[in-house]
């Protein structure tokens, strides 16, 4: 049985750098897709990746090394001292739901645009300008 707890303790710094790094990397990938990819679906995917990066960042910030899940249960009333910060997790849950809704809406818009336009290239969606 591997003791995750000790491993975390040992590589705490590296792991946290890795987590933060992943989050930033995801955000940058997302930005890249949104700003430079021409296909609408790819842009939507980019938005989702960006969101995921932000969510990861949130969770990482709220993490206390060795913390427990932020749940009060009978017999564990002092959990507040050891548990990870619950607020970012709550926020991330909300943000994920919102992100889901936005993505769904975006995809439905893409479908409609494709139906009218027979292309999903964002450069050709310029009938409203100036």
């Amino acid at each position: 049985m591997i003791d995750f707890h000790t491993i975390f303790e040992q590589y705490k710094e590296i792991i946290s750098i890795a987590v933060y790094g992943t989050a930033v990397f995801l955000i940058i990938i997302g930005l890249y897709a949104v700003l430079l990819k021409k296909h609408l679906v790819k842009i939507v995917i980019g938005l989702s990746i960006m969101d995921a990066g932000i969510h990861l960042l949130f969770v990482a910030v709220g993490y206390i090394s060795g913390g427990t899940a932020p749940i009060f249960s009978p017999g564990n009333e002092n959990a507040a001292n050891t548990m990870v910060d619950p607020v970012p997790q709550a926020l991330v849950l909300t943000a994920i739901v919102i992100g889901f809704a936005v993505t769904a809406l975006a995809l439905s818009l893409v479908i409609r645009l494709y139906k009218h336009h027979h292309t999903a290239n964002i450069d050709q969606l310029k009938s409203l300008k100036w």
């Binding site: 964002i122 009938s127 300008k129």
Partner: protein, 616 residues
Amino acid sequence: MEMLSSLLLIFLIGAITTYFVDSINRKFTGIIAFLFVLLGSLFFYSNIHIGDVFVFQLGGIEMQWGINDYSYYFSYIVLGLGVLALLYSIKYIEGKARQGYFYASFLLTILGMIGVIISQDFVSLFIFWEIMTWASFLLVIYNAYYKVKTKGIKYMIFSAIGAYAMLTAIVFIKEHYNTLLIGEAIERGAFNFQQYRYIPIFLLLGFGIKAAVMPFHVWAPAAYSKSPMSFTTIFSGAMSKMGIFGIGLVLSTFYLQHNPENFYWVKLALGWLGGITAVMGTLYALIQVDAKKLLAYSSIAQLGYIVVGLSTGTKLGVMAALYLAVLHAIFKGALFMVAGAVERQVGTTDMTKVSGLIRRMPWTFFVALVSIIALAGIPPLGGFVGKWLLYEALITESNNYFLVIVIFFSSTAAFLYSYRFLFGLFLGQEEKETEHVKEAPISMLIPMLILGIGSIIIGSFPGLIFEPAAKAMQAIGFKDVTWQMSLLSNIWGNTTHLFLISMLIFSVFIIAFLFLTLKGLKKTRYVGTKEISTSGELPKEWENFTFQHNFFKPFERAASPLYHLNMNRIWKDLGKNTEAFFGFFRKLYTGNGQTYALYVIIFLVLLLLFKDVIFS
């Protein structure tokens, strides 16, 4: 006093009533509008006395309305001309569409002007100024001429530049002198060129644009000539005087507070602006083919004289300006009414198409004759007195002889267009097309005749105007203004008895009239313009043989360098280039969602890069 607010209420109710009466029964719209203005004027002269003040709070700002001699003087122009113009309108506008709109805007314009002259604080001055402006804008665009859209906008843009210059000045008066009352601001030296120079300059700009001073006059010819003539009467006659009202107020207090010699450049600049306005207005009036446009340019020129008079800052000069202000309202009102009558009866005021109307419209001709004489400044009528005063003021008190020459040139050249107007429309050969033309209806003739006779009386007894003008000048701070009823004197000790002169000239007139009438009883043969002998060639249909065609061509050729100075074109180019420039900028909105996203990121990066500069 509640009287002042009830006065404004009369005009407001009048505007609303006429607007709605029109949709019920359009026959009575004009009469009701006229009755309201008449009621307002009677109310004004019976219930409102000099010295009335009405103070109240609105929007946290202390407002003050009141009447002093200076504003009372201008009320004659506004209300007198207003009543006549509305009486004239009844028939003039008859049968046209949207009369309710017309009269409502008309009454609102008069309301705005009354408001301007009774305002004793800057906020209500600005409010009424703007009411006057947009109400008149609605009238300028009333005639659905093909280009009226752009012309109206031009008027509005220039008015807005003026109004906003004024607003800027007001904001700074509030900041520097901590008051919004005009009286207090004057006491604290707000119109002073020494401390905060831009305040009076902005105010003068604001008032000057309304008074059509060069180079901001370009709105005037189009606006004056394209609006309905019955409105132009008051537009040119009274509303431009609101500009004069303001300029007079600013300049006279400034001159009285300081020794004008220390600010010679102000005097010089304004004098020359007025002088150039007068000359250019006259020159452009000369070459106009449309009588309405001719009158419009002539108005600009006349306003130039008034500005010159004010710029001297001396008693005599200001007196001349105030006198000319009323006189210009009278004769230019009458002339625009004449043009309107011709337009209504004949259908056009193009002088190459209309001529020889004297037999068809004798009364109109009479008014035109009298007014033109007044305009040209020939002795028995008012113009002479005004110009006399102006010259005397310039020669004896300003030492600016070159300006005198300019003014003199301009008023001499004014003879040319006066002649053209009179001769073009009324004298000369009778056209076949105008044979059916009848005299204007009586309700249009009455105001015209009142104005015509008015200018005769004022010419003989200028004291009638001098008396209130002197009071008005005392109200803005001049002391010991003297005047005489029918006598002009100068510093060299000579006097001129105006009444005698006018009697003399009138007797000559009557004799000449009797003589000519007796002679005219003989049978005469009328020659139409087309019945012309050419040496063997038959004239083509399209050839224009009216003598008005290329009337002042030689003069035009001689003065051609002056005509190249076309402010209108310069402004037009400026406008066009600005819009093209704007068109370039709006391409920032490319329509591509990714570009917009890129803007966001670039902006973010910029903020992050320059965060120390921006948020320190």
